[in-house]
Symmetry: D3
Subunit: 232 residues, 6 copies
């Protein structure tokens, strides 16, 4: 089984980190490759950023189809281009927001999302509604750390950990969902420190798409998600 993890932004260090976390989550015998578009925004922190990242994501899907991948992960918490990617791919495509939130729904009454900038909270709320987890999602909390500062700000981890603690207390939640692919490497340490399950979407989506491929399940291709007439 060969999975392609697409980081929609063009920051190579983040792509490498995402690849590591995805490989750590994958089962034995699964090949996991992480890539990012040739061009596009270096970080996705607005609706415009997300929109401008999508054409590159779709190029990666199209290339992946030629390369023979069995399934795909879109590794940005806004799940940019997810429906379009499902049109273009034969195999399953999973976004990290949907996987993280659906996975967290197995863990109790509800979860809190801890994300980067407050301007992205609305987008996360839209996804909560779209994915049907509004009863499970008890709060979305921004820690006001820009995406790329996750890698450079020495205080980032402490700030995120405090935001998680505050979220657990105010929301009465059973688990934390990390609201950015750039937080993937913090997952296990945060979980140990907080004493609750912390869901990283990169791992959750990798595990989900691996499971779909193993069960031979894929996007319905006879209707809305058929290959577009415009081909590609």
């Amino acid at each position: 089984m060969k999975l392609k993890i697409i980081n929609p932004n063009t920051t190579a260090s983040m792509t490498a980190k995402i690849g590591e976390c995805a490989r750590a989550a994958a089962g034995p015998g699964v090949t996991v490759d992480a890539t990012s578009p040739r061009q596009g925004p270096p970080a996705i922190e607005s609706h415009a950023d997300a929109a401008l990242a999508v054409p590159g994501v779709l190029e990666e899907i199209a290339a992946g189809e030629a390369e023979g991948y069995d399934g795909y992960v879109i590794a940005c918490f806004g799940d940019p281009g997810l429906k379009a990617a499902r049109e273009l791919a034969r195999g399953p495509v999973v976004g990290i927001a949907e996987a993280a939130m659906r996975t967290a729904a197995y863990l109790g009454r509800g979860f809190s999302v801890v994300t980067t900038l407050s301007r992205t909270v609305g987008q996360a709320q839209d996804l909560v509604d779209e994915y049907g987890v509004s009863r499970s999602c008890l709060g979305i909390h921004a820690c006001e750390i820009p995406v790329l500062a996750l890698e450079t700000d020495p205080q980032a981890r402490a700030i995120i950990q405090q935001a998680c603690k505050d979220a657990l207390a105010s929301d009465g939640s059973d688990a934390i969902v990390l609201g950015c692919a750039g937080m993937a490497d913090l997952c296990h340490d945060l979980s140990a420190d907080l004493g609750v399950s912390v869901v990283d979407g990169v791992a959750a989506a990798t595990v989900a798409v691996e499971g779909l491929v193993r069960m031979r399940l894929s996007t319905g291709k006879l209707r809305e998600f058929a290959l577009p007439r415009s081909g590609r």
Copy 2:
């Protein structure tokens, strides 16, 4: 007042038609210019088409800001790039789906949408949910005419008229919403033939954005829809 109507597809004849319909709807003293992106899909009939049209739409917004437009219409029934456009523009931006559906909500218990291909029905349903008109939208009906065939198929109007009649009967609706900018020119004739109000989103969005500008109302720019840090 100067409004820019953006046809997200690159078919010039459709842009011209949209411009005419928008001008016919605008009030006295309002300048209405219709444009389309320099490149992108010639018709938008899939999630991938919509995604690939958005960067061109955003370029038109950015250019419009330099050109001094007071407000914008995105003239494709999927409202592609609407939120990103709101980040980039100082003045209001209105999509034709949201304007058509909110306008139709003033006309009675509910409306039926008549659109082009059935593969776009899911996207229209998503917008119904997002715009809060699920109680008002009583049905979404595809007539299986591709977007560009609206201009070339001599039977298109008859097929659409029949789809409207069927929708009114099956949904028990008070009005029809036309689900494609390419149907804008059919609006008044259909209304006369059917005996009910028929809402064209191009007109509805032009009237809506003109009203917003007149009332000096615009997108909140202090939070989610602030100009992105990535500028443009």
Copy 3:
């Protein structure tokens, strides 16, 4: 085009103010007349007040039909008698609560309503649900100023302004909706002071009904909103 703005309460000074605000919002060539019922409550601050105002509103609609008006606005934030008015009028009828809330929905993620007495908040919440703006309406805030005191209390404007500031901060909203026709004249000053869009329903409804008439759209008259058998 001739529009009739009906103030459901019988306070003439408020009717005059509403008329001024509606005329200021209307486009060129539109005649705007403001009236109020011959008898009924002087202010609408309860369900009973609203109920007792409706027969007078319907008389004004019936008279308006004889007088040849093209459309109507019901200028009280509870939209009293709106559905009944739609049965009686040939042209469109718009309430200021529905117009204000649907207009504010174009302006970003969400809005806050600032209204008069807390006992009216439940009614406003009912309208939020009915008009499908529950995702957009982020809060409803009472400033505990009775309707008629809006015209006499020298501190009214300062209290309202503070309530708007508090609402914006607590709700994280992009715009303010004024929850009483009696606040219409404060709209532009408040907007300037607060730095966000402030939506006055009188203006929003006048603009909306003008747009409907211009687009030749009106209430569906074949079903629920047909003229009642009891005529009038």
Copy 4:
């Protein structure tokens, strides 16, 4: 215990029938008086009819307060004036639509409403949403018999019975709710013929308000439903 059943229309024969059905449902020791407003529409078949009936309903409530009634029923399936009546009365007020629908919710997965004219279906749907029974209400069916024809049309009962049968089959429902006070006398015969529970709102509301009075429960009078400042 003394209960007042208010028939919002002015048709005396219907008031008499409603009184009989209410008395048959009341427990031992409960006095039940049925009245109707001095003036107003003879039947309620539109939003305008309902609106014009409300002032008379409120007069009956005000009179009832002077007469010392412990509780009230509003006996029209649109529950006209219910919230305003709750402001004016010290004791509980129950509408027959809310009582019928909440009572039917105890009887299984769901119920079907069978009502008079199709133009009233929208109003019934609004009440379903307001009363929180949208999961239980599986369908609303009109039999196109005007309210007053229920008493004069010899075929009325047969038509209603067939409409009930059709509703049970198409909705897969567990019970029928009769959607008009004028059908109250048909309840037990229909139930016997159909073999399912048939809920008459007049009985259900009488039983509900009797229960509330017996438990000493009444409308909260400290907030939204306090006596209006305008008194009466």
Copy 5:
């Protein structure tokens, strides 16, 4: 009329108290017997407790059918086994949570639930959603008193009263719903002290099932709630 009130836990003193409260609420001529299962948990404070109590509840229903009861109340605020009981009984079965919440919905804009342990709040929220009272239920508050301590802790009543006061203030509610059958005896005193209606589910369910029997209404037995093939 003969009603059976089933206390799903096995604590005899609580069964006795429940029986007294039910008898106090029942009308003249109604026989009310209170029982509890022969074995099962002494208190129900978790999902597991509730699950383990259900077989005993169903045995009581089956015995009740042989004994000729006309209707049943399940007297635990989680309504354990309610749907299964409806399959087994010919007459109506009412849970105290559904009865309390539907009854409280007649009393104004909304109510607050005051319950025992915070770990049961999620279960109460599930019932709020299932019974369609999410607009009416304005808050669920735990006072952290275990079920059996309601009978032994001398401070229990004071703590509950304070929790009710806090709930009324924070939720802006019109009534209180007591979230445990073990609080039934506090109902009238709390109401007197708080000055608002306080709904005890034991009384509310007894009154509701008495009303259903009087109106000859019962569970639909032709579909989902037919006697199971496995009989019993």
Copy 6:
């Protein structure tokens, strides 16, 4: 990793089939044991059946904790006892209905459920609502084959296949969810015949719990799902 798959009914042949399907879905290195309660109903076709099966399910969980299992699957489409099981287990517990429905949500716009008897459809609808997949679940269809007849009726597979075809056509769905653990072995053949993804909950839940264990995610044990005071 050691997983325990609990068949809540006591039919050994079905337990064996479930075990085979779970093992086929599990990844390398995962031990999968299938068990069923010592006593309880042989098939679960009613609310009462489900309720009576739960104590046995909980005994299996408690035994599993002593035996050192890492996670559990409850293999009946009603997910009986799921929340109680989460209280008793340290590791994750997944029901086959929730896993099947959440997994199918990755596959397109929506899915259809094909289940056994129509009397179970209501229960499936309740789970759809609880799990937040009401937008994705486009229909629930009974084929009227009792659970145990799945193993003995030679026409069962043909009837199910036809029900799937009908469901796909009427619902316009992208995938099928099999609504009974007893259909698990039909999954791959049905998928091949129908040309769409067919989701078996036994496989989906096994894959889901394996993924949760691999990611070290489990039920939050600090609140609602803490081990009950009553221990076990």
